[in-house]
Symmetry: none
Subunit: 202 residues, 4 copies
């Protein structure tokens, strides 16, 4: 079998399979989903799945990678730009929330199921996740340095909170296809920036 697996046709099919796996894992969870479920979603037979993935575990890895694709990279671009803090924050939230739409359910799977990966696979992923958080943390730190943000802000805490908030909304985005993400991004950014209290009060 001469390098069939490098064919672009093969890669195309494999991506389809990964997407199907993402959908199934997102709905039933990694352990709750069977290889048969994924095969069904693809319209092939159970055994045939192994033409695309060496194991169920590898399928999960592929889904996670798909979920993260461009994720950290975009974050770096945002962090490196010389926009003001507000714009960077909005870009971050926007990038994060839109991922949930574009990437099918892969990002949700990454969030919820990645800890079921084999140790080896998980290590590789971890780097990217950490990089993302650190980029965001850096943005906050710069915001403080520039005097745009309050001085007593805990940047680590703030970064984690933004990510957590985005992931919480991500769950709802995946579930509700009608949700207007543009307006959601606005609201999230505004909340993080200004809080809910009326300015007069403070």
């Amino acid at each position: 079998m001469p390098r069939v697996r490098e064919t672009s046709r093969y890669q195309q099919q494999r991506l389809e399979a990964t997407r199907a796996a993402a959908t199934v894992f997102a709905e039933k969870g990694f352990h709750g989903a069977s290889t048969g479920d994924i095969a069904s979603a693809l319209g092939i037979k159970q055994g045939s799945l192994y033409y695309y993935f060496k194991s169920k575990d590898e399928a999960l890895l592929e889904v996670c990678l798909l979920g993260l694709r461009d994720y950290a990279a975009r974050m770096d671009v945002i962090a490196a730009s010389d926009q003001p803090f507000e714009a960077k924050l909005l870009a971050t939230i926007s990038s994060h929330l839109f991922s949930y739409r574009e990437r099918n359910e892969a990002l949700k799977v990454y969030n919820n199921e990645r800890l079921y990966l084999s140790d080896e696979h998980r290590k590789n992923l971890k780097k990217q996740g950490t990089a993302y958080r650190q980029s965001l943390e850096g943005i906050f730190e710069n915001g403080v340095k520039d005097g745009v943000l309050r001085r007593d802000i805990d940047c680590h805490f703030a970064a984690l909170t933004v990510i957590g908030m985005c992931n919480a909304w991500g769950e709802l985005i995946v579930r509700d296809h009608e949700l207007d993400i543009f307006s959601l991004v606005q609201k999230c950014t505004a909340l993080v920036l200004n809080g809910v209290r009326s300015q007069a009060d403070s």
Copy 2:
């Protein structure tokens, strides 16, 4: 002669079993955890678990109920009190985050695994979850009415976001036993109230 399964000894043991199940489900997920895992955590044999639960599904239900115990009730008390908005918000976040400590990992399990409950069991739970969100939403609405909160706040959005944030932090609380929750509560409340931007800027 008290009926068997109402013995306080029995109920006591059953609670222990529920706690063990919470720990195991939190770590491995419902489908990833086996009844053997739960039994091991309890120090009994696998089959003996069925003396306390009719099925694995019932165990999950009990864990979810434990996670929600007093949850909505406390929320009602907070909502009904005549404290100012800030105090209510802090009380809510505090109640939510401390639940993650007190209740073992049950609340985390409720958040992540409840959708694997049998349909019937899930229906019963749903009410309590909805009630919680509505209480919180009411608090925000009153805040707006009283002029404490900005007029353009979307209360539904705000309530969901606060819950989402708390749950995101809850994950970390469960994972890191050293985390100082008091300070976490302060930071969360401050962020939601004031946002991160320095006042001068706005």
Copy 3:
């Protein structure tokens, strides 16, 4: 524990337990019935059953013995009497069919479940069953000898057939409590004696 098990009170209770077991075995079969089912039918707890039976197997043995009680003995009496063949046949069928009413479902259990007894227990029972058939066979042989029965009758076959017929009706008797056994006995006897063909024809 000084010979409590010989108390007549104990024996009384044990008989009750055996009857309950008969009912349950008759309905669900030996393997389909659980010791819990029997205990429930008796109104006691599962473990308590072992006060009356050393094992489930012993319970089955007791039920079979109950089903056979007086069974072979009555057959001997009938065979030894000097009534004419017709009377003996009617007595046999009558004794057999009424057993299904009187003995609760024990005789049905004996017929259907005895082969699940442990080897040792089964051997003991076998004697009684064989004796019954041989007695009946003897009655037929005498009938032939006396010229009451046709000469070309195969007595072994005839005996087995009568027993089979009675057991087949026994199933229905157990199931249908309204069945009029008197008239059933008449019909069965008549059929065996005269067949169904109108006399003119032969």
Copy 4:
């Protein structure tokens, strides 16, 4: 490209599996037999059995259907023919008894274990069983109408008795592979027709 489970190879193997199940159920009863027993009899591993049957219950259903295959249909043919009563009776008994040989032990299983089928499966079977009895009853009724049978015959009773007798003999046929069924059929028919009493006597 024929659908998978309709392959003749698959159907062939499934029939083999059903036969194996019949043998095992006949010997140990439905509850007493394990799926492992059936698999062993087939020469495959226990789990592999589920490639052919969705559940043990379905296996029982298949066995029952096999036991009844052509059963009612043959009865209809016999009833519809214009042979004299005697010939119809002989054909019926012959058909019934030979089924016990041909169909492996499936008919015995149908008789003894069908009540352990799930409710739904049992309903479907019931029709066929009832049809058989009614056909036979009709034969008797015609016999009476034609004057071949005695006028006071209870046709319902007679039909049930013949079926019961055949089933009783069926048990022995299954157990004893040497039994001469031709002669058995003769004896059964003669007994039902003429009874055992010598003609002079009546």
